[in-house]
Every structure is written in C-alpha cells, then in structure tokens.
Symmetry: C2
Subunit: 350 residues, 2 copies
DNA sequence: GTTCTAAAAGACACCGGTGTCAAAAGCAAG
DNA sequence: CTTGCTTTTGACACCGGTGTCTTTTAGAAC
C-alpha cells in the first residue's frame, strides 16, 4: 500500500537518499539491492528498512547503463497469428509479473533482406537480457546465432526441438497429430484428406509427418488428390475444400493443418450441402477461438502456447540469474499439445 | 548496409569516439544528435561525417538516464481481444518504425484494486515518453489523470471521444451502427433483436445508442424480449440466441454487439435448423477474423483499429517532438468505422 | 594484548549521454 | 583597431546506479 512513502520532495528517492538514511555508502545499498553475499545481516536489515521507509525503487535506466543490460525481455515475431502472439505474451507476463522485467515487443519482417541488420540494431540498442523467437522466425538459424553473438540469451519456440534444451521450448505436435488422425482411422475412415501448411514452415512439416505416420501405421496411403497445399489462411482452406469435395470419390474426413483453413473447408462443405460431421469429419490445429466460433465446433489440437510463453520467460530469467538456473533446467522443454474432441468428427457414413 | 562500419574494437563507438574523431567536444556531438539549432552548418557536417564513419548509435540507456525519459511508448491494455490488441500494435509499429522508439507492452488487470499503483509503478520505472490506453481501460479517468500527473503523455482509444483531441483517438461507432441497422430496416425488417456488450463499457453503450437511434428514426420500438445482455463472449451470444430464437415470434434480424457473440447466435440458428440469412439476418461488430471464418460470412462493422494505433503513436511522437506537433494536431482524431456487407443479411421472409 | 586473516564497508572512477554556464569566435559599428 | 553584441563551442558537473580496489572491522589464533 505504501507505494510512495517518504515522497516529501515529489521526487523519487535515489540510492543516495537511502544510503544517507541508513548511514552507509551507496555501494552498500547497491549490494543489498543486488543481493550480494558479502554483507552482514545487520546491515542488510537496516538498509532494507531505509529502502522500505523511503519507498525506494532503483532507477532501471541507471542500472541499465551501469550493467550494460536492460531489464527487458524482447519478443520477436512475424505475426503468424494474432491469437498465438498474444497468448504467448500472456504466458510471458505470467512468468515475469513479479520480477523487475518488462516485455518489449518487436514484430519483424521475415521476408526482408535487412532482417538480420534490423534485429542486430534492435538488440544492440535495447540490450534486453534475453529474446524469444516465435515461429516461423524461430526456425532461422542465423537469427539465433546473431543473438548468441551479441550476448543476448535467446529461446526459440517451435513445434519440435530446434536447438539444445537451454535455447528451446517446443511442443510435440507430430505425436499428437498422429494420435488425432489415429482416432479418425479407428472410427473407420479410410479416405482421409490432408491440407498442409506453408512450405518452409517447420510446424507444417511436423504436422504432415504426424499425419503420414498415422496413415502408415494403419497401412493406408495418401492419394495425390487428397493432398492439398496451403498457407494457414482461410482462403487456402476454401480452395482445398473446393478441390477435394468436388472429387468423384471425396474424402470422408480431413485433417487440416490449422483452424483457420479448417474453417474454410467447413464453409465449403456447408455450401455444398454436406453435413459436418456426418458427411465429412474435420480436424483442425491450434484451438484458436475460431474453433469454437464455428458450427459445429471444431475438433482440434490445442497448442500450449501460453504455457510455452511462461516457460520461455522462465528459462531466460533463470539463465540470467545464473546459479539458480537449475530450477528451469530441470523442466522438460517439450510442452504437450493435446487433442480436443468437439463436434466435427464422427464415423463415416454407411 | 554499413550497419557497423568502424567496429574495430568489437565495442560500440561512444560519443567520445565521435568527438575525438571530429575534433570537437562531446557536447557538440550531442547537439548534432539532438538537432540543436545553435550549431554551425560546417561543424554539423563534420560531426555527422564522423558519426557515419564510426557507425555511431547513441546509447539509449545513457540518454534515458540523462533525459529522465526512456524512448519507449507503452501500450496498456486489458486484453479485451487478441486481434484488437495485435492489430493496434501493428498500427503503432507502422508509425514508429523509422523512429528511435520501441514499444513496451503492458497488460493490466482492470479489476485489480491495485490497478493504479501497478500502473504508477510501471510508468515511474519505465518512464516512457507516452502511453496508449486501449479500451476498456481507456475509459478509466483516474488512469488518464495518473499519466498526466506523472508527466507521461497519453492517448485514450475509444469508440467515441473520451477526452480532448490531443489525448484521444476514437471511431464513430454510433453513426455506423445506426447506418447498418438502418439498412436492415430498409430491407423490411421490423422485429430486430439486439445483443448488448458488457455493462460499463463505453463501446457497448455507443453501439446500443446507435441501434436505438436507427429504430427511433424508423418509428420502431425495441420490445424487452428482443433485448439481450451480453459480455462480448461467444457463450453470451449462444444464450441470447437461445432466448430470442425460442420466442413465439422470433426476430427476423439481430444486431449483435461483436462478432464473437454474433458467431454464437449464428450457431444457435444453425442448430435450430434456421437458415442464415433467409430466416435470420445477423450483423456483428469488429470485423474480426471470425467474421469471415464462419458460414455464411458475417456482415459486420470494421473498426479501424490498426489505423487508430498509427494515429495514437503519431500523436504521442508529435507531442514529444514538440514544435512539429502541428502535423498531428491537424488530423482529425476520429477515424471512421465502416459497415461491411457480407452474406448474413437478406430481406425478411414472406 | 597482539597478530593475522577473512569478511564487510567504503572511496572513487565509470557507464554514455545531457544541462548549465562560462569562454571563445565571428561580425557590425565606432 | 577596439568595442559590444550575438552566435558557437567547450568544461565540467550530473543523471543514478555498478565495478574495482582499498580500508576498516571482526573474529580466531597465538
């Protein structure tokens, strides 16, 4: 409650004020702030009391200058999907809420040939203690190397491990997709279509591999006409739907690599008078809000993005704090995705 | 291209290096950096050349300390909606891309009784040059006053003007809602339902006023059973839909205060076997991705959130730069929303 | 009570800029 | 060539912390 006790001058108290009040040197106060070990318990108590009395908060700008590090965590992303970015942000904030850190958000342009220069400049200027790279830019090895070279801790977020554990937070998409598709097969589906994510995205490749693994396990094949390219956009789903549902022998089920495209496929099905799930089962990926906003609600794979955000932030913080880093190192950097069954899946007709 | 010319020592050049190379004092270099007017053209040129040669970039932490201001813009929000926040961010970044500013994102908890203390602490620590308040927290006058008291420029974003022009960016939701509802009436609808946003939200009130204005203009009334409360969530839309579509005399059209709830209403309609738009016309608000991901695509009101983000950032920057502030002052702080017609509206049956 | 050593505290420079005010330079008038 | 201004430039303190090295203090051993 005493957010600003001792604010007599209207100015914020500085380390000098604290030092004067406690009757010690500013360096000693600095030691208390930074939890130095070479300080007697008695002194620590009296300094702490002075800090509390004055409501002293160390000036982050001054610390940043002296430390040559800003107490910030940077989030670099290429806006793959608003919901993803924001959920991730939320997770990061869950983790840093009680620390002194703040979150700096930096969208970048994956396609720009100045990408590396941009990021370098940004990191050199802001000097965050760490950076988090969201897919798809997390897949850029040059970017990760750049962070390392600049002495910025980094964490790469992905659908599968992209780096060694201390630089990586990922999910197990491949397995979960295989599990979901396995359920379609168990229900009796034999003609199952696949709509892929964009070329060059690791996430797209993981999902495809999971899909193919499930088919292979059941001895099924994937005919060309049931394989559609895509780009994670709604319109790609519409195109894929148009193509597959116009076939003489259309699929009885489709796995679509994200919810947005799945919504596109579903709207084509509706347009053709097909019933979902009776005539066509659909599974998406992301568990985006769209999944529950469409009708029928979409069975999908939930990607634990918020948890990954927390985990990524904790990794950076632990790494920054050094010795106590073990806490985070013990955690498994693979966070499980989960298959969520809703109303868009049923056994095939007949 | 010469992102780091002269990086011989591996270290970044400082103002002292520039001063030495140019043969002037560091203060003179500082004057060049800050575009001071009391400097001869000759000196400026030679200093600028030294800056370019060394690839000097002023250290933001040092400047922040000396200026008592961080070159950051803070975005305070209460995560009303991921898409909104991220689009706004995008707009902000469009505006500050080429400046020295960075974006600091700070989610806050509207309900917390420590809200003001939290924000105060945040602003005192980070000392951004300005803050942007997204709805619904932009409606909190105490928060705005706090910014003012702390010497932080601020802009409040809303559905209608919340403050004087220099502190405000808004849209004209009321008018556009009235226009949209007017079109329903023009098509022949007479029983038109309304699903409201949460109590206490200015945006919800604006939309309701626009709705009622349109009815009034046509001499129509709004019976109690066609008025549903809501909270901008999908489930509220479902509840409102259940209620209205179970009436003996259901509405032939509904205006729903956001897209997410509109999706809820639509799914109830589908569940009851009603055809949209033949049996029920629906209009939403936001033009969120959901609007085009549901079937049929939702007619809705596009809220120019990205443009508002740009505008808000430009206002802060112009204000910060002082004299050149006129550029932004000339702009109208009201950005137009627009009604977007898709497939969810048709004349009533019969 | 000394002496020795490790722990604790302090002095002072430094991080990399800006503010203030005095000094130097430039130029017109006398 | 001075004098009297105004315009430019520089010296130096300062923003609020931390790093380094030195001095002081405290406790153990003699």
């Amino acid at each position: 409650m005493a957010a600003r006790a001792g604010g007599q001058g209207g100015k914020q108290p500085t380390i000098n004020d604290v030092a004067a009040l406690a009757g010690v040197s500013k360096k000693t106060v600095s030691r208390v702030i930074n939890r130095s070990e070479f300080i007697s318990e008695k002194t620590r108590k009296s300094v702490q009391q002075a800090i509390d009395t004055l409501g002293f908060v160390p000036n982050p700008q001054a610390r940043a200058l002296a430390f040559r590090r800003n107490f910030l965590i940077a989030l670099l992303h290429d806006n793959p999907n608003a919901q993803t970015v924001l959920n991730f942000q939320q997770g990061v904030l869950d983790a840093i809420k009680d620390s002194d850190l703040a979150l700096l958000v930096r969208p970048v342009d994956r396609g720009s040939d100045k990408l590396l220069d941009d990021v370098r400049l940004f990191l050199e200027k802001q000097r965050p203690i760490g950076a988090m790279l969201l897919p798809p830019i997390s897949e850029n090895d040059d970017l990760a190397k750049l962070c390392g070279d600049l002495g910025v801790r980094y964490v790469r977020v992905g659908s599968a491990p992209l780096d060694d554990a201390r630089h990586c937070v990922s999910s197990n998409d491949r397995e979960v997709v295989a599990e979901a598709v396995g359920k379609l097969i168990a229900l009796g589906h034999r003609r199952i279509g696949f709509v892929r994510g964009p070329a060059g995205f690791r996430s797209a490749a993981e999902r495809e591999e999971g899909f193919r693994a499930a088919l292979a396990a059941a001895g099924l094949s994937l005919p060309d006409e049931l394989y559609a390219p895509g780009n994670y956009r709604y319109t790609a789903g519409v195109e894929a739907g148009e193509a597959m549902l116009s076939l003489k022998e259309p699929p009885t089920a489709v796995f679509v690599s994200n919810d947005e495209m799945a919504a596109g496929v579903m709207s084509v099905a509706h347009g053709k008078g097909l019933s979902v799930p009776a005539d066509l089962s659909i599974i998406g990926f992301d568990d985006s809000p769209t999944a529950t906003h469409i009708w029928p609600a979409l069975s999908t794979v939930r990607w634990p993005i918020r948890e990954m955000g927390s985990r990524a932030a904790r990794t950076l913080v632990a790494d920054f704090l050094g010795s106590s880093a073990k806490a985070a190192d013990d955690e498994n950097p693979v966070m499980p995705s989960t298959f969520i069954e809703r109303q868009s899946v049923a056994p095939p007709r007949g």
